[in-house]
Each structure stands twice: as structure tokens, then as C-alpha cells.
Subunit: 164 residues, 2 copies
DNA sequence: GATTTCCTGAGTGGATCAATCAAGAAATTG
DNA sequence: CAATTTCTTGATTGATCCACTCAGGAAATC
């Protein structure tokens, strides 16, 4: 899961769409004006969002974009994955442990980035556009709320090697 | 909390330092060879790590770098904060909500990025270099493990507006 | 004083970002 | 049909940052 300002713009635009899009589709020009994002840049973003099935488009006067699913069913993680490039695999990146067994001298930190990516993904997958509009985001727990607290900070806990 | 490959390199180098640095300091040339990072680039990173008080340097033959504190006391979040630039404040970024009240049409997503930054920071602050070396990272919970589970995915939870 | 090692600053090629420009296709309206 | 609206696509640009290189210097040891 890559985090860039591109993904942020996409989430901003989608939140705008969720808020102002009722029965009628919303124009990119409107979103551009409200969110202060360049229209042409929005066009690029929505091309990807459309390919990802997150929005549907209608052309001509009265047209615009609509959410494919409800704000409750539209997850932030899906938005970011739709607009951002698949993770670029430089060296031993999160996605591809090429020749990295983990115990070698290099790539001691492989597990760390993998787990961090997983944390981020789980958090963003748990937030919907409806959550954003109704401001149910602050103070939210991420994952593993059921794990017993076995220590102060250096808690030991080996578990599933989930890939984000 | 900015996440870049620069921060990753720094954590890799610090993990190497924690692993191979016993009583004697470790040479940047050794770290460069083991982690396959350019020596000059390492010099830039360690200049910042030194300014941040995370490592201490010794010059001359037999010299090198040492951890200022123990691997148990050296947190990943401190490493990343030391090498990465302070967050660049483009528009309404995580750090500075300039003129962004949150309920305006623009910047609906302010709380989301703030909470995500907080999540990432708490996770990385809970991982020490010792944890990395002993592979106590996978499957680790992030924060708020004590919160009651009040729902399936769209859990409502308003709380502290901590800034990372 | 020669070697080692840290220290500092300047500069470079490439990638990506955010944006612009330009052209076109579908749909509605008059 | 003609004009307008809106999406759709592709090419291109300026700026910025990343990862790195180069060059020179300062402290410490032998």
C-alpha cells in the first residue's frame, strides 16, 4: 500500500462525491471547484477510479460521476489502490522479497515493513466514505484488538504473515 | 510521519548497527557493504542520526558509530523522524490544518490523515531495534487494544485527537 | 606523517507528481 | 441538425525529491 498525495486527492474527491452526490451525478468541474483540484488532474484520477469500478460516469449535460456502491460500502483502501501504481519493487521491498530470507545480514527489516503495510491497509480498509463524512475516524483502533496485552512496549507476538 | 525509502534505509542501517555493534564501533564502510547502500549516502543519513542523538561517532582508525542507547531503547519512529524532513505542508496536510475547520466542503478528509499518521507513529514507536533483530514484529497489534469491539467493521469511536 | 574514519557541501540523473494542453466521443438541448 | 455539455484519452511540462556521486576537509590513531 503506497501512500502519496495522489491517493489523498482521490479520497478527497470521492468524499466530495459521496457528500454532494444524491440522486443526480456530480460534475468533475464542481468537485474541482470545491476541493480546489485541477480539473484535468481530476480527470486522470477518475479515469482510474472508473476502471477500478468505484464510480460510474454519465456523459452529456446533466451527466457526471456517481458512486458505484454506497458510501458505507466504499472503502478508503480501495480508492488508494485504484489510483496508485502497484508497488514498485526496489530491492527487497514490501511486496517482493526477492532472495531475502530475512535472517541474512541485509534485509533485517523485511518483517517490519511488511507488518507496517499490513497495519496501514487494515486501518484504511476499515474506514468508509460514510465514516469520513460522519467524522467517525479519530481515535479509532487499527487491528488485533483481541490480542492480550503481554507487556509494556516490547510486546512479543508472532503471528500470521499477512501480505497487504 | 513521513514514510519514504530514505527512512527505510536508515532503519536498515541502524538494525545492522545494533546487530554487529558490540563493544567496538561499527564502520560505515562495513554497513555499506553488508546492506548494499552507498557509503556517501550512509554518511548523509548518519549525519542526521548523529544530530538526532541516536548514534555517537568516533573518528580515526578503530572508530565508527555506536548506538547512543541500547537496541531495546532505540525506537523505529525516532530513526525515521531523525532522517526525514519535517512534514511538508502542502495545502491542508496532516501537520498543519491551516484554515481547515474540517466541516467545510474542502478538507473533509483531514481527520482521516491525522488518524492514519497517528496510527503509523504509534506502531513504529512500539517497535525497537531489539524487536527487529529478534523478529518480534509480525502480527503485532497497533494501538487501542483495550477498546471494546462495538461493531463489525464500521466501528464508531470518537476519542483523543492526538497529533503525530 | 600516513592512514583511517568521520564530516560537510555541492551537484547530478532519474522518477514521480501535479498540472496543462489538445483533441475527441457520447449525450442532451434547442 | 447544431451547439453545448461532459466525459475520455494521450502527450507534454516544470518542479521537486530521491538516491547517489564527487570533492574536499577534520579529527584520531599508528
Amino acid at each position: 500500500m503506497k501512500l502519496s498525495t495522489k491517493g489523498r486527492y482521490a479520497v478527497m474527491a470521492m468524499a466530495d462525491l459521496a457528500r454532494f452526490g444524491g440522486d443526480r451525478p456530480v460534475t468533475l468541474a464542481d468537485i474541482a471547484a470545491r476541493q480546489e483540484i485541477s480539473l484535468s488532474y481530476l480527470e486522470q484520477l477518475f479515469a482510474r477510479l472508473r476502471q477500478g469500478g468505484l464510480v460510474t460516469a454519465t456523459r452529456g449535460p446533466g451527466g457526471g460521476y456517481r458512486l458505484t456502491r454506497s458510501p458505507q460500502e466504499t472503502r478508503v483502501s480501495d480508492i488508494i489502490l485504484a489510483v496508485d501504481e502497484p508497488i514498485k519493487t526496489t530491492r527487497c521491498d514490501i511486496a517482493s522479497p526477492k532472495g531475502c530470507t530475512g535472517t541474512q545480514a541485509r534485509c533485517l527489516t523485511h518483517d517490519l515493513w511488511e507488518e507496517l503495510g499490513h497495519q496501514i491497509h487494515v486501518f484504511l480498509a476499515g474506514v468508509s466514505l460514510a465514516d469520513i463524512l460522519e467524522k467517525r475516524v479519530l481515535g479509532r483502533a487499527s487491528v488485533g484488538a483481541a490480542l492480550p496485552a503481554t507487556g509494556p512496549v516490547g510486546t512479543v507476538s508472532l503471528g500470521s504473515s499477512a501480505t497487504s
